[in-house]
Protein backbone atom coordinates (compact mmCIF):
# COMPACT_ATOMS: atom_id res chain seq x y z
CA UNK A 1 0.00 0.00 0.00
CA UNK A 2 1.47 3.29 -1.09
CA UNK A 3 1.23 6.12 1.36
CA UNK A 4 1.62 9.86 1.08
CA UNK A 5 3.38 11.56 3.97
CA UNK A 6 0.91 13.02 6.44
CA UNK A 7 0.89 16.76 6.84
CA UNK A 8 -0.78 16.46 10.20
CA UNK A 9 2.37 18.04 11.64
CA UNK A 10 0.80 21.46 11.21
CA UNK A 11 -2.04 20.81 13.57
CA UNK A 12 -0.01 19.20 16.32
CA UNK A 13 2.72 21.85 16.01
CA UNK A 14 0.21 24.62 16.54
CA UNK A 15 -0.98 22.77 19.62
CA UNK A 16 2.57 22.51 20.91
CA UNK A 17 3.04 26.23 20.34
CA UNK A 18 -0.14 27.20 22.13
CA UNK A 19 0.44 24.87 25.07
CA UNK A 20 4.08 25.88 25.51
CA UNK A 21 3.23 29.55 25.33
CA UNK A 22 0.40 29.20 27.80
CA UNK A 23 2.54 27.12 30.15
CA UNK A 24 5.29 29.76 30.16
CA UNK A 25 2.81 32.50 30.92
CA UNK A 26 1.14 30.52 33.68
CA UNK A 27 4.49 29.79 35.32
CA UNK A 28 5.55 33.44 35.12
CA UNK A 29 2.20 34.61 36.49
CA UNK A 30 2.36 32.12 39.36
CA UNK A 31 5.93 33.11 40.15
CA UNK A 32 4.88 36.74 40.21
CA UNK A 33 2.02 36.02 42.58
CA UNK A 34 4.13 33.82 44.81
CA UNK A 35 7.06 36.25 44.88
CA UNK A 36 6.98 36.73 48.69
CA UNK A 37 7.12 32.95 49.14
CA UNK A 38 9.94 32.40 46.70
CA UNK A 39 12.29 35.05 48.02
CA UNK A 40 13.25 36.20 51.51
CA UNK A 41 14.18 39.72 50.39
CA UNK A 42 11.84 42.56 49.57
CA UNK A 43 12.04 44.04 46.06
CA UNK A 44 13.41 47.36 47.32
CA UNK A 45 15.17 46.07 50.41
CA UNK A 46 18.85 47.12 50.57
CA UNK A 47 21.52 44.84 51.89
CA UNK A 48 24.14 47.43 52.78
CA UNK A 49 26.74 44.72 53.37
CA UNK A 50 26.53 43.35 49.88
CA UNK A 51 26.63 45.61 46.85
CA UNK A 52 27.34 43.91 43.54
CA UNK A 53 27.70 40.59 45.36
CA UNK A 54 27.93 37.64 43.00
CA UNK A 55 25.31 34.90 42.80
CA UNK A 56 25.10 32.33 45.55
CA UNK A 57 25.06 32.59 49.30
CA UNK A 58 22.43 34.87 50.81
CA UNK A 59 21.46 36.23 47.42
CA UNK A 60 20.46 33.60 44.88
CA UNK A 61 21.28 35.79 41.89
CA UNK A 62 23.52 38.28 43.66
CA UNK A 63 22.84 41.96 44.28
CA UNK A 64 22.98 45.11 42.16
CA UNK A 65 24.88 48.39 42.71
CA UNK A 66 22.35 49.43 45.32
CA UNK A 67 22.66 46.16 47.20
CA UNK A 68 19.17 44.99 46.24
CA UNK A 69 18.50 41.29 45.72
CA UNK A 70 18.31 40.53 41.98
CA UNK A 71 16.22 37.34 42.31
CA UNK A 72 13.64 39.00 44.48
CA UNK A 73 13.37 42.03 42.18
CA UNK A 74 13.11 39.68 39.21
CA UNK A 75 10.01 38.06 40.71
CA UNK A 76 8.30 41.26 41.77
CA UNK A 77 9.02 42.88 38.41
CA UNK A 78 6.95 40.16 36.71
CA UNK A 79 3.86 41.57 38.44
CA UNK A 80 4.43 45.02 37.02
CA UNK A 81 5.50 43.95 33.55
CA UNK A 82 2.65 41.48 33.01
CA UNK A 83 0.10 43.80 34.57
CA UNK A 84 1.00 46.86 32.53
CA UNK A 85 1.32 44.94 29.26
CA UNK A 86 -1.97 43.09 29.56
CA UNK A 87 -4.00 46.06 30.74
CA UNK A 88 -2.51 48.34 28.08
CA UNK A 89 -3.35 45.88 25.31
CA UNK A 90 -6.85 45.35 26.70
CA UNK A 91 -7.42 49.08 26.67
CA UNK A 92 -6.04 49.40 23.15
CA UNK A 93 -8.26 46.56 21.90
CA UNK A 94 -11.41 48.05 23.39
CA UNK A 95 -10.79 51.58 22.15
CA UNK A 96 -9.37 50.56 18.77
CA UNK A 97 -12.14 48.05 18.05
CA UNK A 98 -14.87 50.51 18.91
CA UNK A 99 -13.39 53.18 16.65
CA UNK A 100 -12.68 50.76 13.81
CA UNK A 101 -16.18 49.33 13.99
CA UNK A 102 -17.82 52.74 13.77
CA UNK A 103 -15.50 54.04 11.06
CA UNK A 104 -15.77 50.89 8.97
CA UNK A 105 -19.49 50.43 9.15
CA UNK A 106 -20.74 53.99 9.05
CA UNK A 107 -18.12 55.39 6.69
CA UNK A 108 -18.55 59.02 5.67
CA UNK A 109 -16.89 61.92 7.44
CA UNK A 110 -16.41 59.98 10.68
CA UNK A 111 -14.39 57.40 8.80
CA UNK A 112 -12.36 60.11 7.06
CA UNK A 113 -11.54 61.98 10.26
CA UNK A 114 -10.68 58.85 12.24
CA UNK A 115 -8.53 57.44 9.51
CA UNK A 116 -6.60 60.71 9.07
CA UNK A 117 -5.84 60.65 12.80
CA UNK A 118 -4.73 57.04 12.46
CA UNK A 119 -2.57 58.09 9.51
CA UNK A 120 -0.78 60.64 11.66
CA UNK A 121 -0.18 58.06 14.37
CA UNK A 122 1.06 55.57 11.83
CA UNK A 123 3.48 58.06 10.31
CA UNK A 124 5.79 57.04 13.15
CA UNK A 125 7.45 53.84 14.17
CA UNK A 126 5.50 52.69 17.20
CA UNK A 127 8.43 52.68 19.61
CA UNK A 128 9.33 56.25 18.67
CA UNK A 129 5.74 57.21 19.26
CA UNK A 130 5.73 55.50 22.63
CA UNK A 131 8.96 57.26 23.47
CA UNK A 132 7.51 60.64 22.60
CA UNK A 133 4.22 60.06 24.41
CA UNK A 134 5.98 58.68 27.49
CA UNK A 135 8.40 61.61 27.55
CA UNK A 136 5.53 64.05 27.30
CA UNK A 137 3.17 62.32 29.73
CA UNK A 138 5.82 61.62 32.33
CA UNK A 139 6.42 58.63 34.59
CA UNK A 140 3.89 56.58 36.49
CA UNK A 141 2.26 53.20 35.97
CA UNK A 142 -1.06 54.61 34.78
CA UNK A 143 0.67 56.89 32.34
CA UNK A 144 2.63 53.96 30.98
CA UNK A 145 -0.54 51.97 30.43
CA UNK A 146 -2.08 54.93 28.63
CA UNK A 147 1.04 55.46 26.55
CA UNK A 148 1.25 51.90 25.34
CA UNK A 149 -2.49 51.67 24.73
CA UNK A 150 -2.52 54.94 22.80
CA UNK A 151 0.30 53.79 20.57
CA UNK A 152 -1.41 50.50 19.76
CA UNK A 153 -5.04 51.51 19.47
CA UNK A 154 -4.71 52.96 15.93
CA UNK A 155 -3.45 49.63 14.60
CA UNK A 156 -6.51 47.86 16.01
CA UNK A 157 -8.77 50.55 14.64
CA UNK A 158 -7.31 50.05 11.17
CA UNK A 159 -7.42 46.26 11.43
CA UNK A 160 -11.03 46.13 12.61
CA UNK A 161 -12.09 48.75 10.09
CA UNK A 162 -10.66 46.73 7.21
CA UNK A 163 -12.32 43.60 8.53
CA UNK A 164 -15.65 45.38 8.98
CA UNK A 165 -15.52 46.78 5.48
CA UNK A 166 -15.12 43.34 3.98
CA UNK A 167 -17.70 41.77 6.28
CA UNK A 168 -20.16 44.51 5.39
CA UNK A 169 -20.18 43.18 1.84
CA UNK A 170 -20.96 39.59 2.84
CA UNK A 171 -24.39 38.13 2.17
CA UNK A 172 -25.24 37.47 5.80
CA UNK A 173 -25.12 41.18 6.55
CA UNK A 174 -27.51 41.85 3.69
CA UNK A 175 -29.66 39.06 5.04
CA UNK A 176 -29.76 40.75 8.41
CA UNK A 177 -30.53 44.17 6.95
CA UNK A 178 -33.36 42.80 4.87
CA UNK A 179 -34.66 41.08 7.99
CA UNK A 180 -35.35 44.57 9.27
CA UNK A 181 -32.54 44.61 11.84
CA UNK A 182 -31.38 48.03 13.04
CA UNK A 183 -27.86 49.29 12.42
CA UNK A 184 -26.91 48.71 16.05
CA UNK A 185 -28.36 45.23 15.85
CA UNK A 186 -26.42 44.39 12.70
CA UNK A 187 -23.21 45.73 14.19
CA UNK A 188 -23.56 44.08 17.54
CA UNK A 189 -24.98 40.72 16.51
CA UNK A 190 -23.27 40.09 13.18
CA UNK A 191 -20.43 42.40 12.30
CA UNK A 192 -18.62 42.67 15.63
CA UNK A 193 -18.41 38.95 16.51
CA UNK A 194 -17.08 38.15 13.06
CA UNK A 195 -14.59 40.99 12.86
CA UNK A 196 -12.75 40.03 16.03
CA UNK A 197 -11.04 36.99 14.54
CA UNK A 198 -7.78 38.76 13.62
CA UNK A 199 -7.81 40.69 16.89
CA UNK A 200 -7.81 37.46 18.83
CA UNK A 201 -4.63 36.38 17.09
CA UNK A 202 -2.85 39.71 17.25
CA UNK A 203 -3.60 40.60 20.85
CA UNK A 204 -1.26 38.01 22.44
CA UNK A 205 1.57 38.97 20.09
CA UNK A 206 0.85 42.56 20.97
CA UNK A 207 1.10 41.81 24.72
CA UNK A 208 4.64 40.61 24.14
CA UNK A 209 5.42 43.72 22.18
CA UNK A 210 3.93 45.88 24.96
CA UNK A 211 6.27 44.26 27.48
CA UNK A 212 9.26 44.99 25.27
CA UNK A 213 8.11 48.60 24.91
CA UNK A 214 7.65 49.02 28.63
CA UNK A 215 11.08 47.59 29.32
CA UNK A 216 12.63 49.68 26.55
CA UNK A 217 11.13 52.86 27.97
CA UNK A 218 12.35 52.00 31.45
CA UNK A 219 15.76 51.16 30.06
CA UNK A 220 15.97 54.72 28.72
CA UNK A 221 14.71 56.13 32.01
CA UNK A 222 11.27 57.04 30.64
CA UNK A 223 9.29 54.26 32.26
CA UNK A 224 9.64 52.77 35.69
CA UNK A 225 12.64 54.15 37.54
CA UNK A 226 14.82 52.51 40.15
CA UNK A 227 14.06 51.57 42.92
CA UNK A 228 10.86 50.37 41.20
CA UNK A 229 11.26 46.72 40.24
CA UNK A 230 10.90 46.38 36.46
CA UNK A 231 12.97 44.21 34.11
CA UNK A 232 13.98 47.01 31.74
CA UNK A 233 14.97 49.28 34.62
CA UNK A 234 17.01 46.45 36.14
CA UNK A 235 18.84 45.88 32.86
CA UNK A 236 19.52 49.60 32.62
CA UNK A 237 20.91 49.70 36.14
CA UNK A 238 23.12 46.71 35.42
CA UNK A 239 24.32 47.79 31.99
CA UNK A 240 27.51 49.56 33.17
CA UNK A 241 28.57 46.30 34.87
CA UNK A 242 28.54 44.44 31.59
CA UNK A 243 31.70 46.04 30.25
CA UNK A 244 33.37 44.93 33.46
CA UNK A 245 32.11 41.40 32.87
CA UNK A 246 29.55 41.36 35.75
CA UNK A 247 26.63 39.58 34.08
CA UNK A 248 24.26 38.85 36.95
CA UNK A 249 22.74 42.30 37.29
CA UNK A 250 21.52 42.57 33.69
CA UNK A 251 21.45 39.12 32.09
CA UNK A 252 18.79 37.49 34.36
CA UNK A 253 16.14 40.24 33.99
CA UNK A 254 16.67 40.24 30.21
CA UNK A 255 16.30 36.49 30.13
CA UNK A 256 13.10 36.72 32.16
CA UNK A 257 11.78 39.31 29.75
CA UNK A 258 12.75 37.20 26.74
CA UNK A 259 11.06 34.09 28.12
CA UNK A 260 7.90 35.92 29.05
CA UNK A 261 7.59 37.66 25.66
CA UNK A 262 8.37 34.35 23.99
CA UNK A 263 5.40 32.89 25.86
CA UNK A 264 3.14 35.47 24.26
CA UNK A 265 4.77 34.99 20.85
CA UNK A 266 4.33 31.22 20.96
CA UNK A 267 0.72 31.63 21.94
CA UNK A 268 0.06 34.14 19.19
CA UNK A 269 1.87 32.08 16.54
CA UNK A 270 -0.02 28.97 17.55
CA UNK A 271 -3.35 30.76 17.36
CA UNK A 272 -2.41 32.18 13.98
CA UNK A 273 -1.47 28.77 12.69
CA UNK A 274 -4.70 27.28 13.92
CA UNK A 275 -6.73 30.07 12.35
CA UNK A 276 -4.92 29.54 9.04
CA UNK A 277 -5.50 25.81 9.16
CA UNK A 278 -9.21 26.41 9.81
CA UNK A 279 -9.48 28.84 6.95
CA UNK A 280 -7.89 26.34 4.58
CA UNK A 281 -10.12 23.41 5.45
Amino acid sequence: MAEVRVEAGARSFSRVLILTGAAILVVVALAALAAPLLSSWGPEEIDANATLAGPGGAHLLGTDTNGMDVWSRLLYAARLDLGVAVSAVALAVVVGTALGLLAGYLGGWLDDVLMRIVDIFQAFPTFILALAVAALLGNGTVNLVITIAAVNAPAYARLVRAEVRSIRELPFVDASITSGASTVGVLWRHVLPNSLTPVRVIAPLNCGWAMLTLAGLSFLGLGVTVPGAEWGAMISLGSPDVVAGRWWTSVPPGLALLVCVLGFSLLGEGLQERADARRRS
Partner: protein
Protein backbone atom coordinates in the same frame (compact mmCIF):
# COMPACT_ATOMS: atom_id res chain seq x y z
CA UNK B 1 5.92 58.79 -16.75
CA UNK B 2 3.04 57.06 -14.95
CA UNK B 3 5.48 56.29 -12.18
CA UNK B 4 6.45 59.95 -11.78
CA UNK B 5 2.81 60.96 -11.66
CA UNK B 6 2.17 58.34 -9.04
CA UNK B 7 5.08 59.54 -6.92
CA UNK B 8 3.95 63.14 -7.25
CA UNK B 9 0.40 62.27 -6.28
CA UNK B 10 1.55 60.28 -3.29
CA UNK B 11 3.81 63.09 -2.12
CA UNK B 12 0.87 65.48 -2.37
CA UNK B 13 -1.24 63.13 -0.26
CA UNK B 14 1.51 63.12 2.32
CA UNK B 15 1.45 66.89 2.76
CA UNK B 16 -1.63 67.00 5.01
CA UNK B 17 -0.26 64.21 7.18
CA UNK B 18 3.05 66.00 7.60
CA UNK B 19 1.26 69.28 8.29
CA UNK B 20 -0.76 67.47 10.95
CA UNK B 21 2.46 66.10 12.41
CA UNK B 22 4.01 69.58 12.50
CA UNK B 23 0.99 71.12 14.25
CA UNK B 24 0.49 68.32 16.73
CA UNK B 25 4.14 68.15 17.83
CA UNK B 26 4.40 71.90 18.02
CA UNK B 27 1.37 72.21 20.26
CA UNK B 28 1.88 69.08 22.35
CA UNK B 29 5.47 69.79 23.20
CA UNK B 30 4.47 73.22 24.56
CA UNK B 31 1.18 72.32 26.23
CA UNK B 32 2.28 69.27 28.16
CA UNK B 33 4.19 69.82 31.43
CA UNK B 34 7.96 70.35 31.28
CA UNK B 35 10.04 73.46 30.64
CA UNK B 36 13.30 73.33 28.68
CA UNK B 37 14.58 76.65 30.06
CA UNK B 38 14.24 75.57 33.69
CA UNK B 39 15.72 72.15 32.90
CA UNK B 40 18.76 73.63 31.21
CA UNK B 41 19.40 76.58 33.52
CA UNK B 42 19.17 74.40 36.58
CA UNK B 43 17.53 75.05 39.98
CA UNK B 44 19.70 78.05 40.83
CA UNK B 45 18.65 80.36 38.01
CA UNK B 46 16.57 83.42 38.89
CA UNK B 47 13.29 84.31 37.28
CA UNK B 48 15.04 87.13 35.43
CA UNK B 49 17.60 84.71 33.95
CA UNK B 50 14.80 82.46 32.80
CA UNK B 51 12.87 85.35 31.24
CA UNK B 52 15.98 86.49 29.39
CA UNK B 53 16.61 83.01 28.07
CA UNK B 54 12.96 82.72 27.04
CA UNK B 55 13.19 85.97 25.11
CA UNK B 56 16.38 84.80 23.41
CA UNK B 57 14.60 81.74 21.99
CA UNK B 58 11.43 83.67 21.19
CA UNK B 59 9.45 81.69 23.73
CA UNK B 60 7.90 84.82 25.23
CA UNK B 61 5.84 85.49 22.13
CA UNK B 62 2.25 84.18 21.81
CA UNK B 63 2.06 80.63 20.56
CA UNK B 64 0.56 81.45 17.15
CA UNK B 65 3.41 83.90 16.57
CA UNK B 66 5.94 81.24 17.48
CA UNK B 67 4.24 78.83 15.12
CA UNK B 68 4.34 81.28 12.24
CA UNK B 69 8.03 81.94 12.89
CA UNK B 70 8.63 78.19 12.94
CA UNK B 71 6.79 77.66 9.65
CA UNK B 72 8.69 80.54 8.06
CA UNK B 73 11.95 78.96 9.16
CA UNK B 74 10.88 75.55 7.83
CA UNK B 75 10.08 77.06 4.46
CA UNK B 76 13.68 78.30 4.18
CA UNK B 77 15.13 75.07 5.53
CA UNK B 78 15.87 76.53 8.97
CA UNK B 79 14.99 74.16 11.80
CA UNK B 80 15.81 76.68 14.53
CA UNK B 81 18.43 76.70 17.23
CA UNK B 82 18.83 74.04 19.89
CA UNK B 83 18.00 75.43 23.31
CA UNK B 84 20.35 73.01 24.95
CA UNK B 85 23.46 73.44 22.82
CA UNK B 86 22.76 76.80 21.20
CA UNK B 87 23.84 75.54 17.79
CA UNK B 88 21.82 75.24 14.61
CA UNK B 89 19.53 72.20 14.59
CA UNK B 90 20.13 71.75 10.87
CA UNK B 91 23.88 71.38 11.21
CA UNK B 92 23.53 68.97 14.14
CA UNK B 93 21.11 66.88 12.13
CA UNK B 94 23.54 66.69 9.22
CA UNK B 95 26.11 65.10 11.52
CA UNK B 96 23.70 62.65 13.10
CA UNK B 97 21.58 61.27 10.29
CA UNK B 98 24.36 59.63 8.27
CA UNK B 99 25.64 57.14 10.87
CA UNK B 100 22.17 56.06 11.91
CA UNK B 101 21.03 55.60 8.34
CA UNK B 102 24.11 53.50 7.65
CA UNK B 103 23.38 51.32 10.66
CA UNK B 104 19.71 50.86 9.77
CA UNK B 105 20.21 50.28 6.04
CA UNK B 106 22.96 47.71 6.60
CA UNK B 107 20.93 45.86 9.22
CA UNK B 108 17.68 45.83 7.28
CA UNK B 109 19.42 44.71 4.08
CA UNK B 110 21.15 41.92 5.92
CA UNK B 111 17.87 40.94 7.56
CA UNK B 112 16.04 40.96 4.21
CA UNK B 113 18.62 38.67 2.66
CA UNK B 114 18.49 36.22 5.54
CA UNK B 115 14.70 36.37 5.68
CA UNK B 116 14.20 35.60 1.98
CA UNK B 117 16.66 32.72 1.86
CA UNK B 118 15.62 31.17 5.15
CA UNK B 119 11.91 31.92 4.70
CA UNK B 120 11.66 30.20 1.32
CA UNK B 121 13.83 27.32 2.55
CA UNK B 122 11.58 26.91 5.56
CA UNK B 123 8.33 27.07 3.58
CA UNK B 124 9.51 24.35 1.22
CA UNK B 125 10.02 22.12 4.22
CA UNK B 126 6.77 23.12 5.86
CA UNK B 127 6.01 21.22 9.04
CA UNK B 128 9.23 19.30 9.09
CA UNK B 129 11.98 19.58 11.65
CA UNK B 130 14.00 22.22 9.78
CA UNK B 131 10.96 24.40 9.35
CA UNK B 132 9.97 24.08 12.98
CA UNK B 133 13.48 25.04 14.13
CA UNK B 134 13.57 28.10 11.89
CA UNK B 135 10.17 29.19 13.16
CA UNK B 136 11.13 28.78 16.79
CA UNK B 137 14.32 30.75 16.18
CA UNK B 138 12.30 33.48 14.48
CA UNK B 139 9.95 33.61 17.44
CA UNK B 140 12.87 33.93 19.82
CA UNK B 141 14.24 36.77 17.71
CA UNK B 142 10.81 38.35 17.73
CA UNK B 143 10.73 38.23 21.51
CA UNK B 144 14.23 39.56 22.02
CA UNK B 145 14.69 42.85 23.88
CA UNK B 146 17.21 44.51 21.55
CA UNK B 147 18.93 46.56 24.27
CA UNK B 148 19.52 43.45 26.30
CA UNK B 149 20.75 41.52 23.27
CA UNK B 150 23.21 44.39 22.71
CA UNK B 151 24.48 44.03 26.26
CA UNK B 152 24.85 40.27 25.90
CA UNK B 153 26.77 40.68 22.65
CA UNK B 154 29.07 43.20 24.37
CA UNK B 155 29.50 40.81 27.26
CA UNK B 156 30.49 37.99 24.92
CA UNK B 157 32.15 39.81 22.02
CA UNK B 158 34.07 42.42 23.99
CA UNK B 159 34.30 41.54 27.70
CA UNK B 160 34.75 37.79 27.36
CA UNK B 161 36.32 37.20 23.93
CA UNK B 162 37.73 40.64 23.15
CA UNK B 163 37.04 40.23 19.43
CA UNK B 164 35.30 43.57 19.04
CA UNK B 165 36.22 47.10 20.19
CA UNK B 166 34.74 48.66 23.31
CA UNK B 167 31.22 49.99 22.88
CA UNK B 168 32.13 53.63 22.60
CA UNK B 169 32.29 55.66 19.42
CA UNK B 170 31.83 54.67 15.81
CA UNK B 171 35.39 54.72 14.48
CA UNK B 172 38.85 54.87 15.98
CA UNK B 173 39.81 58.61 16.06
CA UNK B 174 43.47 57.68 15.23
CA UNK B 175 42.44 56.78 11.70
CA UNK B 176 41.80 60.46 10.90
CA UNK B 177 38.65 59.82 8.92
CA UNK B 178 37.40 62.90 7.07
CA UNK B 179 33.63 63.06 7.56
CA UNK B 180 31.70 63.64 4.32
CA UNK B 181 28.30 62.07 4.72
CA UNK B 182 28.61 61.11 8.38
CA UNK B 183 28.20 57.45 7.41
CA UNK B 184 31.65 56.24 8.45
CA UNK B 185 31.89 53.16 6.31
CA UNK B 186 30.82 55.12 3.25
CA UNK B 187 33.17 57.98 4.09
CA UNK B 188 36.07 55.54 4.49
CA UNK B 189 35.34 54.12 1.04
CA UNK B 190 34.95 57.56 -0.51
CA UNK B 191 38.21 58.82 0.95
CA UNK B 192 40.01 55.54 0.37
CA UNK B 193 40.92 55.31 4.04
CA UNK B 194 41.67 51.62 4.63
CA UNK B 195 42.33 51.62 8.39
CA UNK B 196 39.24 53.74 8.98
CA UNK B 197 37.17 51.24 6.97
CA UNK B 198 38.36 48.33 9.10
CA UNK B 199 37.81 50.29 12.29
CA UNK B 200 34.32 51.45 11.29
CA UNK B 201 33.42 47.91 10.26
CA UNK B 202 34.54 46.44 13.57
CA UNK B 203 32.60 49.09 15.44
CA UNK B 204 29.54 48.44 13.27
CA UNK B 205 29.59 44.66 13.55
CA UNK B 206 27.88 44.26 16.92
CA UNK B 207 25.23 46.99 16.51
CA UNK B 208 24.35 45.73 13.02
CA UNK B 209 24.16 42.16 14.30
CA UNK B 210 21.91 43.23 17.16
CA UNK B 211 19.54 45.18 14.95
CA UNK B 212 19.49 42.54 12.22
CA UNK B 213 18.63 39.76 14.67
CA UNK B 214 15.75 41.79 16.03
CA UNK B 215 14.26 42.82 12.68
CA UNK B 216 14.83 39.57 10.79
CA UNK B 217 12.13 37.77 12.75
CA UNK B 218 9.01 39.51 11.39
CA UNK B 219 10.43 39.48 7.87
CA UNK B 220 11.23 35.81 8.06
CA UNK B 221 7.77 34.92 9.31
CA UNK B 222 6.17 36.92 6.56
CA UNK B 223 8.31 35.48 3.78
CA UNK B 224 7.63 31.99 5.03
CA UNK B 225 3.89 32.57 5.25
CA UNK B 226 3.84 34.17 1.83
CA UNK B 227 5.93 31.42 0.22
CA UNK B 228 3.74 28.81 1.84
CA UNK B 229 0.66 30.45 0.43
CA UNK B 230 2.20 30.40 -3.03
CA UNK B 231 3.29 26.78 -2.65
CA UNK B 232 -0.24 25.83 -1.68
CA UNK B 233 -1.86 27.94 -4.38
CA UNK B 234 -3.56 26.40 -7.35
CA UNK B 235 -1.26 28.38 -9.62
CA UNK B 236 1.83 26.68 -8.22
CA UNK B 237 0.05 23.34 -8.20
CA UNK B 238 -0.79 23.80 -11.87
CA UNK B 239 2.84 24.55 -12.69
CA UNK B 240 3.94 21.47 -10.74
CA UNK B 241 1.44 19.12 -12.34
CA UNK B 242 2.55 20.36 -15.72
CA UNK B 243 5.98 19.03 -14.86
CA UNK B 244 8.00 22.24 -15.06
CA UNK B 245 11.67 22.08 -14.10
CA UNK B 246 12.52 22.84 -10.44
CA UNK B 247 14.58 25.87 -11.44
CA UNK B 248 11.77 27.36 -13.52
CA UNK B 249 9.34 26.67 -10.70
CA UNK B 250 11.52 28.37 -8.13
CA UNK B 251 12.36 31.44 -10.18
CA UNK B 252 9.21 31.96 -12.18
CA UNK B 253 6.46 30.62 -10.00
CA UNK B 254 7.64 30.84 -6.39
CA UNK B 255 10.01 33.72 -5.79
CA UNK B 256 8.24 36.60 -7.46
CA UNK B 257 4.75 35.99 -6.11
CA UNK B 258 6.35 35.42 -2.71
CA UNK B 259 8.26 38.69 -2.74
CA UNK B 260 5.26 40.71 -3.82
CA UNK B 261 4.16 41.43 -0.29
CA UNK B 262 7.65 41.98 1.09
CA UNK B 263 8.17 45.70 0.28
CA UNK B 264 5.31 46.90 2.46
CA UNK B 265 6.55 44.83 5.36
CA UNK B 266 10.14 45.88 4.78
CA UNK B 267 9.01 49.49 5.08
CA UNK B 268 7.28 48.72 8.34
CA UNK B 269 10.34 46.93 9.59
CA UNK B 270 12.47 49.89 8.58
CA UNK B 271 10.36 51.92 10.99
CA UNK B 272 10.78 49.36 13.75
CA UNK B 273 14.50 49.49 13.12
CA UNK B 274 14.53 53.27 13.52
CA UNK B 275 12.76 52.81 16.85
CA UNK B 276 15.23 50.16 17.91
CA UNK B 277 18.25 52.29 17.01
CA UNK B 278 17.35 54.66 19.83
CA UNK B 279 17.93 51.78 22.24
CA UNK B 280 20.86 50.25 20.39
CA UNK B 281 22.71 53.55 20.02
CA UNK B 282 22.24 54.02 23.74
CA UNK B 283 23.71 50.61 24.51
CA UNK B 284 26.71 51.03 22.20
CA UNK B 285 27.21 54.74 23.02
CA UNK B 286 26.80 55.31 19.32
CA UNK B 287 26.55 59.03 18.58
CA UNK B 288 23.70 58.99 16.11
CA UNK B 289 20.32 60.45 15.40
CA UNK B 290 18.52 58.33 17.99
CA UNK B 291 20.67 59.49 20.87
CA UNK B 292 20.31 63.08 19.75
CA UNK B 293 16.52 62.91 19.42
CA UNK B 294 16.22 61.15 22.76
CA UNK B 295 18.21 63.81 24.54
CA UNK B 296 16.13 66.50 22.87
CA UNK B 297 13.00 64.79 24.12
CA UNK B 298 14.29 64.43 27.66
CA UNK B 299 15.26 68.10 27.85
CA UNK B 300 12.11 69.29 26.05
CA UNK B 301 14.41 70.98 23.56
CA UNK B 302 11.52 72.26 21.39
CA UNK B 303 13.34 72.79 18.06
CA UNK B 304 15.17 69.45 18.37
CA UNK B 305 11.97 67.55 19.18
CA UNK B 306 10.08 69.21 16.33
CA UNK B 307 12.86 68.60 13.83
CA UNK B 308 13.43 64.98 14.77
CA UNK B 309 9.73 64.13 14.80
CA UNK B 310 9.23 65.75 11.41
CA UNK B 311 12.27 64.01 10.00
CA UNK B 312 11.17 60.59 11.20
CA UNK B 313 7.70 61.08 9.80
CA UNK B 314 9.09 62.27 6.48
CA UNK B 315 11.60 59.42 6.32
CA UNK B 316 8.94 56.88 7.15
CA UNK B 317 6.62 58.23 4.50
CA UNK B 318 9.36 58.16 1.88
CA UNK B 319 10.27 54.60 2.76
CA UNK B 320 6.64 53.58 2.31
CA UNK B 321 6.54 55.37 -1.00
CA UNK B 322 9.60 53.47 -2.17
CA UNK B 323 7.96 50.26 -0.97
CA UNK B 324 4.85 51.03 -3.00
CA UNK B 325 6.88 51.65 -6.12
CA UNK B 326 8.82 48.42 -5.66
CA UNK B 327 5.56 46.59 -5.04
CA UNK B 328 4.11 47.98 -8.25
CA UNK B 329 7.17 46.84 -10.17
CA UNK B 330 6.96 43.33 -8.68
CA UNK B 331 3.22 42.87 -8.91
CA UNK B 332 1.55 43.44 -12.28
CA UNK B 333 -1.86 43.55 -10.58
CA UNK B 334 -1.02 46.81 -8.87
CA UNK B 335 -1.94 49.85 -10.90
CA UNK B 336 -0.14 53.06 -10.21
Amino acid sequence: MRLLRFVARRLLQVVPVLLGVVVVTFVLVRVLPGDPIRTILGPNATDADAAAARARFGLDKPMWQQFLDYLKGLATGDFGTSIQSGTSVGSELALRVGPTLELVVLSVSLALLIAVVLGVWSARRADRFGDHSVRILALVGNSMPEFWLGLVLILVGYSALGWFPAPSGRVDPDTNLTPLTGADLLDAILTGNGPAFTSALSHLALPVATLAIVVVAPLLRSVRASALEVLRSEAYLAATTHGLRPRTLLRGYLLRPTLVRLPALAALVFGTAIGSTVLIEYVYSWQGFGQWALRGLLYRDYPVVQASVLLIALGYVIVFLIADVVHAVLDPRVRI
